[in-house]
């Protein structure tokens, strides 16, 4: 049976006009993602990985020029107006951002901020929405959720706030979750918890996930397929297995070499020389 994939990106190019002529931040990117699978996008700052995710959400700055095609369940997203995108944002595609400390509005309770996401798409009474929010908070394992729902963002730790962001993303059961460096701002133990949580929730909901990171160690834990980007180009693609065992591009190899290895006799030396 021939099914349309969840997400198909074809020849995506994103261009910004600058004082010294147009600059491509993403060049000719193609990728396919099925439900229940995770695509890791790896690259350094400025490689265009975040721009790609913003293009899927329709959140690029208005000066950006987008060409190519992004299809979600066969529906073309490139060229949609901001108003048309609103039915997709949150509802079909949700996003978890890098910095949980500044991604929540300090003036409103976390309950309200999740609730407004839910109600702006599904409507209904505040009471009904509150039940959904409470459930979402419990799913991301906020302890004592019934009380915490009325707390403000500054009353939560960084890891907790990222859980709240995930709860916000999941309360509408989106088909695609984009996690843009979701663990970069967190310390290592919290990072592992968040990764586990994301993987678990993905199994429950069966959504597809795009996981953006600069950290190969992280992407190896979550993604089945990997794109490696540099300066707006895809320099390598393949399954996680292929990329780690047999990297083709020199850039990928240098990224892999930067990882600490347990079997590297010079590891200790390099560490001290730094």
């Amino acid at each position: 049976m021939n099914t349309t994939p969840l997400l198909e990106i074809e020849h995506l190019t994103i261009t910004f006009p600058t004082g010294s002529g147009p600059v491509d931040v993403v060049r000719d990117l193609s990728a396919v993602l099925d439900a229940n699978r995770t695509l890791g996008v790896v690259g350094e700052s400025g490689s265009g990985k975040s721009m790609t995710s913003l293009a899927i959400m329709g959140l690029l700055p208005s000066t950006a020029r987008v060409s190519g095609s992004i299809r979600l369940n066969g529906q073309e997203l490139v060229g949609k107006t901001d108003r048309e995108f609103r039915t997709i944002r949150g509802e079909k595609v949700a996003m978890v951002f890098q910095d949980p400390l500044s991604s929540l509005n300090p003036y409103y309770t976390v309950g309200l901020q999740i609730e407004e996401a839910y109600r702006s798409h599904r409507g209904g009474s505040r009471r009904a929405a509150r039940a959904v929010v409470l459930d979402a908070l419990e799913r991301v394992r906020i302890k004592d959720a019934a009380r915490r729902i009325d707390h403000y963002p500054h009353q939560f730790s960084g890891g907790m706030r990222q859980r709240i962001m995930i709860a916000m993303a999941l309360c509408l059961e989106p088909e695609l979750l984009i996690a843009d460096e979701p663990t970069t701002a967190l310390d290592v133990t919290v990072q592992a918890q968040i990764l586990d949580l994301l993987a678990e929730l993905q199994q429950e909901t069966g959504s597809g996930m795009i996981f953006i990171t600069h950290d190969l160690a992280v992407v190896s834990q979550v993604a089945e397929d990997i794109l490696v980007m540099k300066d707006g180009d895809v320099v390598e693609r393949g399954t996680a297995e292929q990329i780690f065992s047999n990297p083709q591009a020199a850039y990928t190899r240098s990224l892999l070499d930067a990882l600490p290895r347990i079997d590297d006799p010079f590891e200790e030396l390099r560490g001290t020389a730094r």
Binding site: L59, D82, R89, M95, P106, Y107, Y108, T109, E116, Y152
Partner: protein, 331 residues
């Protein structure tokens, strides 16, 4: 919360006490002998001594200051016996020029300053916040540039200059408004309104300019915050994003500024009141400075300090309601 309130009010009273001490000391040390001022040109040394005794000017500084404070709280009387003059609390003494009670002089003029301040505040909040918001949303357009140019003018042009131009254009040239006259609202509401309109506009222009620039910057900063991106990524409608997520963080700092500015104006707008001949507390201050009428200067200074200090307390209390981050730490 109650403890916090109590602490704030106590510290405000402490500040007021310090201000009164400093102003009293300045007038005590720097001004010419009040007895000579009161007595006038034809004066005998005996008469001067008599006045000194009656006002307690022969007492040391601390005794005089203490008497002043006591008069403020409990009232006092000058001199003894049948010639004693009573001064009910809050007693600020009597004008050296007119012998009028300073407390009465201030309370009779205060409504004028309050009317001026309230009317101007309404205008400048509307124009400042409205203009600033529009400029922020239409950032970089001709509207934005034009509005910010005008605002720059409002900030840099002195009040009296704007007042003179306005009077020349509206009253002399176009003859839209009559010359401002002191008239009660009850006597002639239209003339009352016309008389206050120009002072309101002049004051509001300066403040609105400041507010517009502040609001514009605050809104633009807020629009760039990460939580705005989150709000958009949730699929919220644009008006809701602006109303809920941008306005509150952007406008909360305006509350601080407004509290201070409005409280300051209640203590009298010196220049505007003088230029338009409005008989408010500001004009009283200007006149008493010109005549070195110490008790009056002292009185209006303390009144202004009172408003500013308690304006501050009110802003702080409001903040605990407006900003959840303050709410928790203040507990």
């Amino acid at each position: 919360m109650v403890l916090y309130l109590l602490r704030r009010i106590l510290s405000a009273l402490g500040i007021l006490l310090l201000i009164s001490l400093f102003t009293y000391a300045i007038f005590f040390l720097l001004s010419p002998d009040p007895a000579v001022l009161i007595c006038g040109k034809t004066c005998t040394p005996e008469r001067i001594d008599q006045i000194r005794g009656q006002l307690g000017l022969d007492q040391p500084f601390w005794v005089q200051y203490w008497e002043f404070l006591r008069g403020l709280v409990a009232g006092r009387s000058y001199g003894d016996g049948p010639s004693a003059i009573d001064c009910a609390a809050p007693c600020l003494g009597f004008s050296f020029q007119t012998n009028e009670s300073v407390t009465n002089m201030i309370t009779s003029r205060f409504p004028v300053s309050a009317t001026l301040a309230i009317g101007a505040a309404v205008l400048w909040l509307l124009a400042g916040i409205g203009g600033g918001l529009l400029s922020a949303v239409k950032q970089g357009t001709w509207w934005d540039r034009g509005a910010m140019m005008v605002a720059l003018g409002g900030i840099s042009l002195p009040n009296y200059f704007v007042a003179l131009i306005l009077q020349y254009v509206l009253v002399v040239q176009l003859q839209i408004l009559p010359f401002p006259t002191a008239v009660e609202f009850g006597e002639n509401p239209l003339l009352w309104f016309q008389s206050y309109l120009m002072p309101w506009l002049v004051l509001a222009f300066a403040y609105a300019s400041m507010y517009a620039r502040l609001v514009r910057t605050n809104v633009i900063d807020t629009l760039g915050e990460n939580f705005m991106r989150t709000a958009r990524a949730k699929g919220l409608a644009a008006p809701l994003i602006l109303r809920r997520h941008a306005l509150r963080p952007a406008l909360t700092p305006v509350v601080t500024l407004f509290g201070m500015d409005f409280a300051g104006l209640l203590g009298g707008a010196l220049i505007t009141e003088t230029v338009f001949g409005l008989n408010g507390v500001g004009k009283l201050a200007a006149d008493s400075i010109a005549k070195n009428d110490q008790p009056v200067i002292m009185g209006v200074t303390l009144l202004a300090a009172l408003f500013v200090v308690f304006g501050n307390v009110i802003v702080d209390i409001l903040y605990t309601v407006l900003d959840p981050r303050v709410r928790v730490t203040s507990r």
